[in-house]
C-alpha cells in the first residue's frame, strides 16, 4: 500500500515574482521576468537577456544573518528563501538558532543543474590563478559544492531526514518532487522539501550561448524573447531562481489539520539512452512517450482526466515534437486536447530550478482555479496549428481545473513527469 503524498507548502523566487503572491499575480497578468543583462552585452554574448529574480539581496538581509549571508551566493539565496517560505507556508515556525530540536521526520531534495558558478567564476578561479589562495576565506567550498543549498537549508530548518541535491539538468526540479514523493510514500519520511535552485551567472549561461541554443533575436525587447510554441521561437532564454514544494504524507497532514494545496498522485522518470533520435541535447521521443505513459499509470489517472499540460517547452525547435509526443502519449486529438502552455514563456529556462518553479505555478493554478497564458506565441508554430485552440494566449479563470501533468525533458535525454490533483475541502473526509 503506497502512502499518499500531498503538498502543504510552497516557496518561490522567480524572475517575474518573488514570493507566492507576486508570482501568482505575474502569472495571471502574463508578465515576463526577462530583462537585459549588461554584462552579457559587454562580454559579447549572442543572447544578452535572461530571467533574474528582482530585489533578492534586500530580501535576503531580512531572512538571514550577516555571517550566513557571507557564505550565500545567488543560488543559495534563491533556494534558501524558497525553502524557508515553503516551511512557514506549511504552518511550521522557523526554528531559532539556539533551539535544539531536530526534525527527524523532515528532509530535503533541492537540486541544481550547474551550481554555484558565480562563486567559481568571480572568486575562486581568479584568486587561485593569481596565487592568492589564502585570500579566498572559508566560504568557498559550501557555495560551490553541488549539495550546498540543501546543506544550507538543513541548518536553517533543523532537518534530520535525508538532505541531498539531485541533478538531472532541466528535469532536476521535477525529479526532486518525485524523489521526495518516493521517500514519503515508502514511509521513510513524513515531510520533504523538494525543488531546485539555479544561480544567476553569465558563466552558467555562456556554454549555452556557445552552443547557439539561446535566443539572439530579441535582445532589444527582452519580454518578447522567450517564445515557446511560436513560429518565431529562436532558442531558449536562460533563467535562474528557485522553487520549493513542501511535500507531506496525507496522514501526517490530516493529523495536524494542515492546509492541503494538492496531491502528488505520482509520476515517472526515465532516460532515452541517446537512441532513436535522442542525444546529449535532444530527447528520444519514444522515451518521452513512455515516461508520460508511465506517469499516468503510476498516478492511477486516465489520459482524458488531464486538464492541463505544463510542458517542458523551452522555445527551441523541439517544441512541436514535444506537442506531438504529448498527443501520442495521451492518445488525444486536437479536438479533445487538454490545455497546454509553457511557464518558460515568462520566466525563461531556469535549468535546475525550472521544473520546481513551474511546478509551484501548477499548484497555484490548481489552488486558485486559473490557467496562466503562454505568452509570445500569437504566431503558433505551423506544425502545431491544429492545437492552437488548446494554447491559452490569455489568462483563463478555470474553477474546474483539477488535474495537471508537468514534465521536464532534460539534457542527457532524461525525462521526469509528475501528476498533480487539486485537493478539495471535502476530500479530507477520505
Amino acid at each position: 500500500m503506497r502512502r499518499r503524498v500531498v503538498i502543504t507548502g510552497l516557496g518561490v523566487v522567480a524572475p517575474n515574482g518573488v514570493g507566492l503572491k507576486a508570482f501568482e499575480a505575474a502569472l495571471r497578468e502574463g508578465r515576463s521576468g526577462i530583462r537585459h543583462i549588461p554584462i552579457m552585452e559587454e562580454l559579447r554574448f549572442g543572447c544578452t537577456v535572461a530571467g533574474v529574480p528582482d530585489g533578492v539581496d534586500e530580501l535576503a538581509e531580512r531572512y538571514f544573518d550577516a555571517d550566513e549571508l557571507m557564505a550565500m551566493n545567488t543560488s543559495h539565496r534563491y533556494g534558501s528563501i524558497a525553502a524557508v517560505d515553503a516551511w512557514t507556508d506549511a504552518g511550521y515556525a522557523r526554528p531559532e538558532r539556539d533551539d535544539d530540536h531536530v526534525y527527524w521526520e523532515a528532509g530535503a531534495v533541492i537540486g541544481t543543474g550547474i551550481g554555484g558558478l558565480d562563486t567559481t567564476g568571480e572568486k575562486l578561479v581568479p584568486m587561485v590563478d593569481a596565487g592568492r589562495v589564502r585570500r579566498l576565506g572559508s566560504t568557498m567550498v559550501e557555495q560551490i559544492m553541488g549539495s550546498g543549498v540543501s546543506a544550507r537549508v538543513s541548518g536553517l530548518l533543523a532537518l534530520g531526514n535525508q538532505v541531498t541535491a539531485n541533478s538531472s539538468a532541466c528535469s532536476t526540479g521535477t525529479e526532486a518532487i518525485l524523489e521526495g514523493y518516493q521517500r514519503i510514500s515508502n514511509g521513510l519520511a513524513e515531510r520533504m522539501l523538494c525543488g531546485g535552485t539555479e544561480g544567476s551567472s553569465h558563466y552558467a549561461w555562456a556554454g549555452f550561448d556557445a552552443m547557439r541554443v539561446l535566443c539572439r533575436a530579441h535582445n532589444d525587447e527582452p519580454a518578447r524573447a522567450s517564445r515557446p510554441l511560436s513560429a518565431t521561437a529562436c532558442g531558449f532564454v536562460p533563467g535562474s531562481g528557485a522553487g520549493v514544494l513542501h511535500l507531506e504524507s496525507l496522514e501526517h497532514a490530516l493529523e495536524r489539520g494542515a492546509r492541503i494545496y494538492a496531491e502528488v498522485l505520482g509520476g515517472a522518470v526515465n532516460c532515452g539512452g541517446h537512441r532513436h533520435g535522442g542525444s546529449m541535447t535532444a530527447p528520444n521521443p519514444d522515451a518521452v512517450r513512455r515516461c508520460i505513459g508511465a506517469a499516468l499509470v503510476h498516478a492511477g489517472v486516465d489520459a482524458d482526466e488531464i486538464d492541463l499540460i505544463n510542458g517542458h517547452l523551452t522555445a527551441t525547435g523541439a517544441d512541436p515534437k514535444e506537442v506531438a509526443s504529448w498527443a501520442a502519449a495521451l492518445e488525444r486529438t486536437p479536438e479533445n486536447f487538454p490545455l497546454i502552455h509553457s511557464t518558460k514563456s515568462m520566466i525563461g529556462h531556469g535549468l535546475g530550478a525550472a521544473g520546481a518553479m513551474e511546478s509551484v505555478a501548477c499548484v497555484l493554478m490548481l489552488r486558485s482555479g486559473f490557467v496562466h497564458p503562454s505568452i509570445n506565441c500569437e504566431d503558433v508554430h505551423p506544425e502545431i496549428e491544429a492545437y492552437e485552440r488548446s494554447i491559452p494566449r490569455e489568462m483563463r479563470e478555470m474553477p474546474e481545473l483539477r488535474t495537471v501533468i508537468k514534465a521536464g525533458f532534460g539534457f542527457g535525454d532524461v525525462n521526469a513527469c509528475v501528476v498533480f490533483r487539486r485537493r478539495d475541502e471535502d476530500d479530507n473526509l477520505n
Binding site: A66, D67, G137
Partner: protein
C-alpha cells in the same frame, strides 16, 4: 592609532561572526573569541582577512594561530602597525 581605537575596530570586525551577542556587550581584552564570543572556528580565517583589509597589514598563519582573545588580536595588530 591608539590601543583603544584598535580594540574598538576589532570588536566591530568580529561582531557579524559572533554567535553569543550578550558576551559581546561586556567584551574586554580578555574575552576569548572562540569560547566566549562563540565565533565559529571555521570562520576565523575570514576574521583574520578582515583585520588584514581594515588595517592594511599581513598576518602570517603562525601569528593568526596565536590569537585567542580580543587582546591577542589587538596586540598583533599593534605590532604590525609598528
Amino acid at each position: 592609532m591608539t590601543r583603544e581605537e584598535i580594540f574598538e575596530k576589532v570588536v566591530e570586525i568580529v561582531k557579524p561572526y559572533v554567535k553569543n551577542q550578550e558576551a559581546l556587550e561586556g567584551v574586554t581584552e580578555d574575552t576569548n573569541i572562540l569560547q566566549d564570543l562563540k565565533v565559529n572556528s571555521a570562520r576565523l580565517v575570514d576574521v583574520i582577512l578582515a583585520f588584514e583589509d581594515e588595517f592594511d597589514i599581513e598576518v602570517e598563519d603562525e601569528d593568526a594561530d596565536a590569537v585567542n582573545t580580543v587582546g591577542d588580536a589587538v596586540e598583533l595588530i599593534q605590532s604590525k602597525l609598528g
